[in-house]
Point group: C2
Amino acid sequence: MPENRYVHGYSSRESERLADQAETLTSLLHNDTRFPAGSRVLEVGCGTGAQTIILARNSPGALITSVDISNDSLQRAEKMVRQEGITNVTFQQGDIFHLPVVLGSFDHIFVCFVLEHLAEPGLALLHLYPFLKDGGTITVIEGDHGSTFFHPENEDASLAVHCLVKLQQQTGGNALIGRQLYPLVRGAGYRNVHVSPRMVYIDASRPELVEGFTKLTFTAMVEGVGQEVLKQGMMNADSWARGIAALYRTAEPDGVFCYTFFKATARK
Amino acid sequence: MPENRYVHGYSSRESERLADQAETLTSLLHNDTRFPAGSRVLEVGCGTGAQTIILARNSPGALITSVDISNDSLQRAEKMVRQEGITNVTFQQGDIFHLPVVLGSFDHIFVCFVLEHLAEPGLALLHLYPFLKDGGTITVIEGDHGSTFFHPENEDASLAVHCLVKLQQQTGGNALIGRQLYPLVRGAGYRNVHVSPRMVYIDASRPELVEGFTKLTFTAMVEGVGQEVLKQGMMNADSWARGIAALYRTAEPDGVFCYTFFKATARK
């Protein structure tokens, strides 16, 4: 999920939040990603390893190379993976545009919650292309903050969500990238591009998602940029407080919350 | 789909549009609605019969009673149903609050694109309850214009879509009702309420939906309220024209369009 900076995972609270979120969304986002035993998988931008663990568990026979720009994140990821007893992941430090791996050596590439942070996501996809073997596949997962809607409606809450979009823009990222995966992946020359939306639909009959997503993931993420929003004067303090309260209000028994992730798969 | 009036189907162009739309969306919205042979089904607000045909085809053994407030719509619906050789539907004229049918006589009630037009949708659901046999089910399908998003983003296009929402409000309806189905159905006393979102996700790999939904259904529907929007001064003519052009722009090869319907099922 988008944050107002390129690199995730510097605080332990953030790390916990990402782990909670990953748990809640695992089945929705990842259940149809299984890589065969012996296949070589490159995970680009693994961060603190929230997705790495899921990947490795779902494809226990695959040989996964997980790369991130941040050594701090890599250390956390490696620690968590070791604690889980996972042995099929190798970590390497590197930027998406300067990957420490061999061209044409991967059967699969996996990119999750990374493109949203990049000023040139299409160029990144183009850059990844030659690292695939012929016929290899790429999987890309991104959220889209503009897909957010809820009941009861509330203008302050919508403004607060839009602040996230603007903050992401300020850092050169794009919090509305989910909807663009088809043209982005297609435009980078991949074929057989298939995009499927994955809506997190939450009403009172789904209490784990009310807790795990509406409150602990999404609203917590919005709350997390409050200081920056107020500092920049993007909203005043009252409006912001009302917006946050209104987001929590959607977690009440008569509330509803919707957010859509997009998953693209394609072939070299 | 919402329109700026209570009763659909007065023009033949409108009737064609609804038929096109029903065809495109049939599988997404209706494939999991099958009523057993011999079961008695009440369709409330059948309009010109776009959904009636689908219902009757998918449940050929069910005995369907389709009710609408408009005699004109009923005549069109009856004509279409007869042309299709469908024999398991009976039409009756009546208002949702004054139904010409017997209490406790139905195994299933089906309500599609009706609640959006009502000032008191919860009351309508409450009113339908006693027409079900004990253990009978209700199925409710509604769209939600606030779920619309697309690429490329365009402010005029968003304003144009919002005009539909405001016009629906003026007539006492609610174009954002889809997201509210869970609390509405639950609040009317039904049990086992289950709501599932049905997103129409459209990119260039799905040309039938680009034509059938983005252009012929959604954008045509927005275009259809243009005169009223301009008359009321909700947008100026230039902004409106740019908005409509931007909606068509989402149907280009690099465009994407998303709209979500909601389907609720529940039991008496």
